[in-house]
């Protein structure tokens, strides 16, 4: 046995070209297969990150279970709060990713005759607010609360709570204990109620028609209102009351209340952000195992108005299966039936259980998730099989050639007395060598390449992307590759030892006698040397049809992928190239207008940003009386609306925004054709400093709403400023009127806008930041994540801004690596085939050299054969890719299939010609070397 191992290793070490080709074949095949698997693993992880970000990291919503407990279905647990405590401390639950959330709310009223409902909330110091909905949530993992809370809520004790910021305004501090008395109230808002009178009075003061009020309440008109973009119109009665009356002091007719619910807790912090002030709902944050219980609200007899969500999102213990955890938990919650989990899963008794199947699928947590994705899994498995077969084919082809080349030697061994098993062992040992060397190299190199690419994508701001090569992935790849290698060595070994008899092996490659007589065709005798070589080459190709076909298919696949990627790349580049250039922003932050200046200062001071600008948006409601002050200009407004008031946007901006161009931005204030070149500064003809010193500018559409009058494009300074008053008594002085495109808004100097904000006008800010450069991007991101302000939204657009070149480069590298590795497989396969074809005919080629064939003619026949292989592959692969490209563009991406195929075709043909020459080189070298012997 030792001698066989030694012989096998001698074959490996002495047949350098063959070994090199084999090693390359196995390494490339493993590279392709492992890349596919690691990309899959990383993609699933990235999808999971997205799922967690969008939907939270939970597995099951036990709302149905809590409802069942409340309904008395549990054998042992009497109340939802008791159930929540059991859940929060249970061994089957991951406490860090479980949260409870219940909400109580009165629905929106649409019609005048509908009852109105609210929760009257009184604190023990007498502070009183009204809320249409109240919800309580434990904060850990709670998406709704996560972005709006300042402090880390993981440490809340059962008696602590995070309360709205109006508690602070009422004088409470962190650490104070407060009791809220919550009284559900319902009643009718009569026409002659104080609230309604207040609303009408206000509208009359604003010279708005009281008919407006009724229009708003009817559902259809709400849609109409939306179309007319009347942003200040409230969608429901409660919001209308909130806008035009003191909502906290409304009194309802025929009011009904139910038993107040007292809730006491210790204040651990205050909710901030824009929603902290809102009175229409109230949010309380608590610990998971809280004592703060709002569930008695469910006992309110005002039943038809109260909705209770009672959600309880849990993530189970990751060390045991999801199903096992559920069964254990349900038993401890008093549902001792063996089918309890199935009952809840299928809502057998009216109480269901919602499962987060996307998360569970991407986490491989249970068959529940996997079950929903069976079609996708099926499609993926088909792809995996194709990739595996492709890699197996490459290895198989290489092994087959390697063994058949030595058939005479193997026959000699058999003649000398080697058994079939010994011959098989010889071949297996070679296979083991490649399994131990090329396989790990292929796995390591592909894993590192994947890591580099995924890390690069994450580095340019692609969200959620994460490299992940699970041990399972590597194990699967190793097993698949080992299986491929050993199947190949097995079939080759069996051929060498069993299928090929010694006598047959000795004659292998020589003409075999065939029973079937070949068709005798007319001879071609009068041939020039050139024509003879061409004819001879074609005859040889047809002699080895199978190998020719297989190698051509392998290489055609590489050509197909290459040309397809080029075509798609060129098309996509054409789509995005307009955006490549000077980026306009990398980060967009939406926040409270009052904080914009401070946020800008804080972030710019970090030194990670090159520039920034922001604009603030608010609104103002103008009545017909105010509009008449505009004179003829008011005709530009769309008067085709309900009622006689018009909401209008207010906008302000900093110097950079005022003076920068509009390129790449969607800005309706400037005619489309001039958007790339016109700044606000140019339109108005003044600098930012001059603008700041003066009053606001009113922007109106260029044409009347009915298209009758064209006011033209430009700006007119008024001889005297006009003062417009809004429905909240805010006053804005207008210095001039600009006509540009379709928009209607008032552009206010920043200092004036800050005054409005100071006096209670709410405005939101859109802030834009440009990163200094690629090196500063990570620090810039950290600076934004850790800034001392709570904002509504942050959008990271670095990959489309400053990082777009990097992003595109990374995508190109990823695609190129995949393309090249598949293409190299095809090339190596062709090299194997050409080499073997030439070597199998070495005797006849040497003979032809003996009878006078020149070296050039010898090279020519090998190169011609190689060219024919590669041409067939190039043509077939390119044709299929052109068709495939058209299909993808038209039916999948739904884009115009631009004719970018010419460049791809040219590149493909040139490269394939080069490859043909390269593939022929080893064979020519070997033959010339053999002839000289």
């Amino acid at each position: 046995m030792k001698h066989l191992f030694r012989l096998a290793l001698k074959y490996v070490t002495r047949q350098k070209l063959r070994t090199a080709l084999m090693f390359l074949s196995v390494t490339l095949s493993v590279f392709v297969l492992n890349t596919f698997l690691v990309y899959t693993s990383s993609t699933i992880r990235s999808i999971r990150n997205a799922v967690v970000e969008e939907n939270g990291e939970w597995e099951a919503n036990l709302q149905g279970v809590l409802e069942a407990v409340r309904a008395g279905e549990s054998e042992t647990v009497k109340s939802p709060i008791e159930a929540a405590k059991i859940i929060s401390n249970h061994v089957a639950v991951d406490k860090n990713h479980t949260y409870i959330f219940d909400q109580y709310q009165f629905p929106y009223e649409q019609n005048v005759g509908d009852p109105v409902g609210y929760f009257d909330v009184r604190l023990d110091d007498g502070t009183h607010r009204v809320a249409r909905s109240i919800f309580r949530s434990s904060l850990t993992g709670n998406l709704e609360m996560r972005n709006t809370m300042l402090k880390n809520t993981d440490d809340l004790t059962p008696d602590e709570m995070i309360v709205p910021s109006w508690f602070a305004k009422a004088g409470y501090e962190v650490g104070d204990t407060v009791t809220m008395t919550i009284t559900p109230t319902t009643g009718m808002l009569g026409e002659n109620s104080e609230a309604m009178k207040a609303v009408r009075s206000k509208l009359a003061e604003l010279n708005a028609s009281s008919e407006e009020f009724y229009y708003i309440l009817q559902g259809d008109e709400v849609d109409q209102v939306l179309r007319n973009n009347r942003r200040t119109i409230k969608y429901n009665l409660f919001d209308m009351l909130s806008a035009y009356a003191d909502i906290d002091e409304i009194r309802l007719d025929a009011a009904e209340t139910s038993t107040p619910v007292k809730v006491t807790g210790r204040i651990a912090g205050f909710e901030s952000g824009l929603e902290g002030e809102s009175g229409t709902y109230m949010r309380i944050g608590t610990a998971l195992d809280t004592d703060i219980d709002l569930s008695p609200l469910n006992d309110s007899p005002i039943g038809f108005i109260c909705d209770n969500f009672g959600n309880c999102w849990v993530k189970t213990n990751p060390n045991t299966s999801f199903e096992y955890n559920m069964e254990l938990l349900l038993k401890d919650l008093g549902f001792t039936d063996d089918d309890a989990y199935d009952d809840f899963k299928f809502a057998m008794h009216g109480y269901g259980m919602e499962l987060n199947t996307p998360y569970m699928l991407t986490s491989f947590r249970s068959v529940e998730g996997i079950g929903t994705a069976v079609p996708y899994i099926g499609a993926y498995l088909v792809l995996l099989v194709i990739v595996w077969l492709f890699s197996r084919f490459i290895i198989d082809n290489a092994f087959e050639i390697s063994v058949q080349e030595r058939s005479v030697q193997f026959a000699a061994l058999r003649i000398m007395g080697a058994s079939k098993g010994q011959l098989a062992t010889l071949v297996f040992t070679e296979g083991l060598f490649y399994a131990l060397t090329a396989l790990p190299l292929g796995i390591v190199s592909s894993t590192l390449a994947c890591k580099y690419f995924f890390d690069s994508l994450a580095g340019v701001g692609v969200e959620y992307v994460e490299f992940y090569a699970s041990p399972l992935t590597i194990l699967i790849c190793t097993l698949l590759c080992l299986t491929g290698v050993f199947i190949s060595t097995y079939t080759s070994a069996m051929w060498a030892s069993r299928k090929l008899s010694p006598a047959e092996a000795l004659n292998y490659g020589k003409p075999k006698s065939t029973k079937k007589r070949r068709k005798q065709k007319k001879s071609k005798l009068s041939l020039s040397s050139k024509r003879f070589m061409i004819r001879y080459t074609f005859k040889n190709i047809f002699r080895t049809k199978r190998r020719f076909l297989i190698s051509s298919v392998a290489m055609a696949l590489g050509v197909l992928i290459f040309t397809l990627c080029i075509q798609l790349g060129l098309t996509l580049y054409g789509e995005v190239k307009d955006y490549i250039g000077e980026p306009t922003y990398d980060f967009y932050i939406h926040t409270d207008g009052a904080d914009a200046d401070s946020i800008q200062k804080e972030l710019m001071d970090t030194g990670n940003f090159k520039s920034s600008y922001y604009e603030c948006h608010g609104s103002i409601v103008l009545t017909e009386k105010e509009l008449k002050k505009l004179g003829d200009e008011s005709a530009a407004l769309d008067m085709n609306m309900q009622g006689d008031i018009i909401p209008m946007s207010i906008m302000t901006m900093d110097k950079t925004r005022f003076e920068c161009g509009h390129k790449g931005l969607s800005d309706m204030a400037v005619p489309y054709e001039e958007r790339d070149i016109t700044t606000y500064s140019e339109l108005l003809g003044i600098s930012y400093e001059e603008f700041e010193k003066g009053d606001a500018v009113l922007f109106l559409p260029q044409q009347r709403y009915d298209g009758d009058t064209d006011f033209g494009y430009g700006y007119t300074e008024l001889s005297e400023s006009i003062t417009l008053s809004g429905n909240q008594d805010e006053e804005i002085k207008i210095r001039g009127i600009a006509h540009a495109d379709y928009s209607t808004f008032i552009l206010v100097p920043m200092s004036k806008a800050q005054e409005l904000i100071k006096y209670g006008k709410s405005m939101s800010a859109n802030m834009y930041f440009l990163v200094r450069d690629a090196e500063h991007y990570p620090a810039a991101k950290t600076a934004i994540d850790s800034m001392n302000f709570s904002v509504d939204n942050v959008y990271d657009e670095y990959k489309a801004g400053t990082g777009i070149t990097e992003f595109v480069n990374t995508i190109v590298k990823i695609v190129l690596t995949l393309m090249l590795s598949i293409w190299l497989c095809g090339i190596v396969s062709m090299m194997n085939t050409i080499n073997t074809s030439a070597l199998n005919r070495s005797r006849e080629l040497i003979m032809m050299r003996a009878v006078g064939m020149t070296r050039r003619q010898l090279t020519g026949t090998v190169v011609l054969e190689s060219l024919l292989f590669s041409s067939v592959s190039a043509i077939a692969g390119t044709l299929i890719s052109v068709v495939g490209y058209q299909l993808i563009m038209r039916f999948i991406l739904n884009l115009n299939a631009a004719a970018s195929g010419a460049a791809a075709l040219a590149a493909s043909l040139v490269l394939n010609i080069i490859i043909a020459f390269l593939a022929a080189l080893p064979a020519i070298r070997t033959l010339n070397h053999s002839v000289s012997k």
């Binding site: 020589k510 003409p511 075999k512 006698s513 065939t514 007589r517 070949r518 005798q520 065709k521 007319k522 001879s523 071609k524 005798l525 009068s526 041939l527 020039s528 040397s529 050139k530 003879f532 001879y536 005859k539 040889n540 002699r543 005797r843 006849e844 040497i846 003979m847 032809m848 050299r849 003996a850 009878v851 006078g852 064939m853 020149t854 070296r855 050039r856 003619q857 002839v931 000289s932």
Partner: protein, 229 residues
């Protein structure tokens, strides 16, 4: 025009160095006249095939010279040597080395195709007649017996009417009957066309038919006594 078709001067062919040095040809000087039938005998590994290869420009000597028809061929370019082989030499090997994808007559005219020379169809017919392959002209090598294949190889060596025929054990794979027939065909051809034949053989009965017999031993060529010259 030299009387000797082939002349070698102090041919040396050495493989390896030092302890592994092998002298395949050790100072071989030979003259072969036109129309002569020369046999070269010797044990395996004595250098017979090497001598044939060097004369036929398939191999280059370590030192020494080879003259064909008075013109030195050692040191020529590959293209010149290829042309030399195409036009002036006819090779016959022990293993037939036919092209399996070409039929009998296509195999025979192979040297002419390589030289872009139009075949002499009358001569081709004569060769087919001489070798008994007329009825097999369109058959493929896989459909022929060993003896028939060797005849094809033989015809291929003669189709371009070479001045010199080099045969390396042409009857090695044939039975005695076929062997005799091949030798007879060879002898009649060289007589008819004034060709020179240098033939390597182990068969002393064949060697005895030669005009001169040389013996090769350890790279040294000696002429046997009792030969015509």
């Amino acid at each position: 025009m030299d009387d000797n078709i082939i002349r070698t001067e102090a041919l040396v062919k050495q493989y390896g160095e030092g302890e592994t040095k092998v002298m395949a040809l050790d100072n071989v000087s030979l003259e072969v006249g036109r129309g002569e039938f020369v046999a070269v005998t010797g044990e395996s590994g004595s250098g017979k095939t090497t001598l044939l290869n060097v004369i036929g420009s398939l191999d280059t000597p370590t030192s020494g010279k080879v003259f064909f028809d008075g013109r030195e061929i050692t040191g020529r370019s590959d293209n010149e040597l290829s042309a030399y082989r195409r036009r002036s030499i006819g090779f016959i090997f022990q293993s037939y080395n036919l092209i399996p994808v070409l039929n009998v007559e296509e195999n025979i005219v192979l040297p002419l195709n390589l030289d872009s020379t139009e075949p002499d169809m009358a001569y081709l017919e004569e060769l087919l007649e001489l070798t008994g392959l007329k009825s097999k002209r369109r058959s493929y090598p896989s459909e022929l017996s060993g003896g028939q294949q060797q005849r094809v190889a033989f015809a291929r060596a003669l189709v371009h009417k070479p001045e010199l025929i080099l045969a390396d054990e042409p009857t090695g794979n044939l039975d005695s009957k076929n062997s005799r027939e091949i030798i007879e065909i060879l002898k009649s051809s060289i007589k008819k066309y004034a060709q020179t034949l240098i033939l390597i053989t182990h068969d002393m009965s064949i060697a005895a038919q030669a005009d001169r017999i040389f013996r090769m031993k350890d790279g040294v060529l000696t002429e046997s006594e009792g030969t015509l010259r």
